[in-house]
């Protein structure tokens, strides 16, 4: 009969490292807030201001609904066209970037291209394209094509890298040419995910197309920025409600489309 008690670790031991980490985070916040010149007074003053701002926004003014609808439709057109080209370009780029099918000398440039597209926010592309092709929806379309490549091509490449290589090997062993390998061994494994990414990107492009107009690249963002500059807050409110409604509709449509392709 041994009565020796085994020293057991406390079931809910105190994690000093975690506490130290939280302390550091708090200290960092205090330091950063002092650097950023953020204080309680300013926040309170802002809230006061915000209440007045909200007061000016309501009720939303829909008198200029024709302008609103025209701009929303332009945003929608930008989103659709850019999604089409974005996905079409992403297909070969994503394929070139997949390391299991392509040689190194091809994957590196493709990956670098995707990284550049991903690193810059769409607004930055929009500024550059506004300089290159002038104000208007064309700049917006080009912007969102690049934004789409950065996202969709990366996911395409990852999806292709995750496929089972057995069908590919079988097709190759049977002497299939490269395009047949792609269409009969690779594509069936990834098509559903491709459609998922693409519908997601349409949705994401629609969100972005409502924003890039702020820097002059077409769509409803331009009207929004102009309304802000004229302190026309009731029209701002109408525009925001319209954007939110459009995005909710598009989310609903995206869910239904995904359901069809399940």
């Amino acid at each position: 009969m041994s009565t020796a008690t085994v020293a057991r670790p406390a079931p809910f031991a105190v994690n000093w490292w975690a506490r130290f980490g939280y302390l550091l985070a708090v200290l960092y916040c205090l330091y950063a807030l002092s650097i950023l010149d953020i204080s309680w007074d300013r926040l309170l003053a802002g809230l006061d201001n915000g209440a007045r701002f909200l007061g000016a926004m309501f009720p939303p003014e829909f008198k200029r609904w024709k302008l609103l609808i025209d701009n929303l439709l332009e945003s929608l057109q930008i989103a659709l066209i850019s999604s089409l080209f974005g996905v079409l370009i992403s297909l070969p780029v994503g394929l070139c970037a997949s390391r299991n099918l392509m040689p190194d000398w091809l994957t590196w440039p493709a990956r670098a291209f995707i990284a550049v597209c991903r690193s810059f926010h769409p607004v930055i592309f929009a500024i550059l394209f506004v300089k290159a092709v002038g104000f208007g929806p064309l700049a917006g379309i080009l912007t969102l094509i690049f934004a789409s490549i950065g996202f969709v091509a990366k996911l395409f490449a990852e999806a292709i890298e995750e496929i089972s290589l057995k069908p590919v090997e079988a097709a190759r062993a049977a002497g299939a040419p490269f395009l047949s390998v792609l269409s009969f061994a690779v594509l069936p494994q990834v098509l559903n995910r491709f459609i998922g990414f693409s519908t997601y990107q349409v949705d994401s492009n629609l969100r972005n197309s409502t924003m890039i107009g702020i820097v002059g690249a077409g769509g409803i963002g331009g009207t929004l920025a102009a309304a802000f500059q004229r302190f026309d807050y009731s029209f701002v409110c109408a525009i925001l409600l319209a954007i939110i409604a459009l995005i909710m509709v598009s989310e609903y449509v995206a869910v239904r489309v995904k359901g069809v392709f399940q």
Binding site: G46, N49, E74, F120, H121
Partner: protein, 264 residues
């Protein structure tokens, strides 16, 4: 004797639905191409303009870094980090409210969903415009923008992680008579904390990108320097700022990927 059977992967209804999706997509695209206002002369002119752009950007004005970029670059990182930390403080309660297995009041679930959806539906730049109007131009507006915009993302993913947590430990703690807060800290939190920190890091990475542009509408950070350089047509400085943003974004992404590998 067996008649020749034709195997089909999809039912007629499924095929019809697919056809309708493609048809509608085609019609919408055709409509877009026909009505979008594109001026062909501008497109023809583009290569010349792009060449001009690069010519003006070269050589990059590296000397300007010390004077005009370093401070705002650090400011951008601070905005992203503080904004993310503020988001975590708000997104944890909202995520808990959104998880239907933790919070069993449907009204609160709905409220949380509403907060999450409205935070995500409005674009960062639009939030920035709003908060610049509220708080005045500056870093405060930027930090609040980042915080408010991220709630939707962090709260949604955190709520989903909570909903997927295993009920066993929670039941055990409840059976032992643990109060609500202990059930959360010792039952749910250990299960979701790797996911939570992963989500927070991922959002920080996104926030570094976003905080570099919200300055374009006056919300602080490197975007304000970019805006100034653009308005003055200092394209060599624009090039420098773009290089800096690219470097920071790449470094942030590499950093986040490394830490995520360790904690997950």
């Amino acid at each position: 004797m067996s008649a020749e059977r034709i195997w089909q992967r999809f039912t007629p209804a499924e095929r019809m639905a697919r056809f309708v999706v493609f048809l509608v997509a085609g019609i919408l695209l055709a409509w877009s191409f026909r009505t979008v206002e594109i001026i062909p002369e501008f497109l023809m002119d583009a290569p010349e303009q792009v060449a001009d752009l690069f010519k003006r950007m070269w050589p990059v004005d590296y000397a300007y870094y010390e004077r005009g970029v370093h401070a705002v670059l650090i400011e951008t990182l601070h905005i992203a980090t503080v904004g993310t930390i503020m988001t975590l403080g708000i997104a944890i309660p909202v995520g808990i409210m959104a998880a239907s297995n933790v919070c069993r009041v449907p009204a609160l679930n709905w409220l949380a969903t509403f907060i999450l959806v409205s935070s995500r539906s409005v674009n960062t730049l639009v939030w920035a415009l709003l908060f610049v109007a509220v708080f005045g131009p500056g870093t405060l507006a930027g930090t609040v923008t980042i915080a408010v915009r991220s709630i939707g993302f962090v709260g949604k993913l955190f709520g989903e992680a909570l909903e997927e947590s295993a009920p066993g430990p929670i039941e055990a703690l409840r059976a032992a008579g643990a109060p609500w807060i202990s059930v959360f800290l010792k039952g749910y939190w250990p299960q979701v904390s790797p996911a939570f920190w992963g989500i927070a890091l991922f959002r920080w990475d996104i926030n570094v990108r976003e905080s570099s542009v919200i300055g374009l509408v006056g919300a602080g950070g490197i975007g304000m320097a970019l805006d100034e350089a653009l308005n003055l047509f200092h394209w060599d400085r624009v090039a420098l700022i773009l290089v800096c943003i690219f470097a920071v974004v790449v470094i942030a992404e590499v950093f986040v990927t490394h830490i995520r590998k360790r904690i997950i």
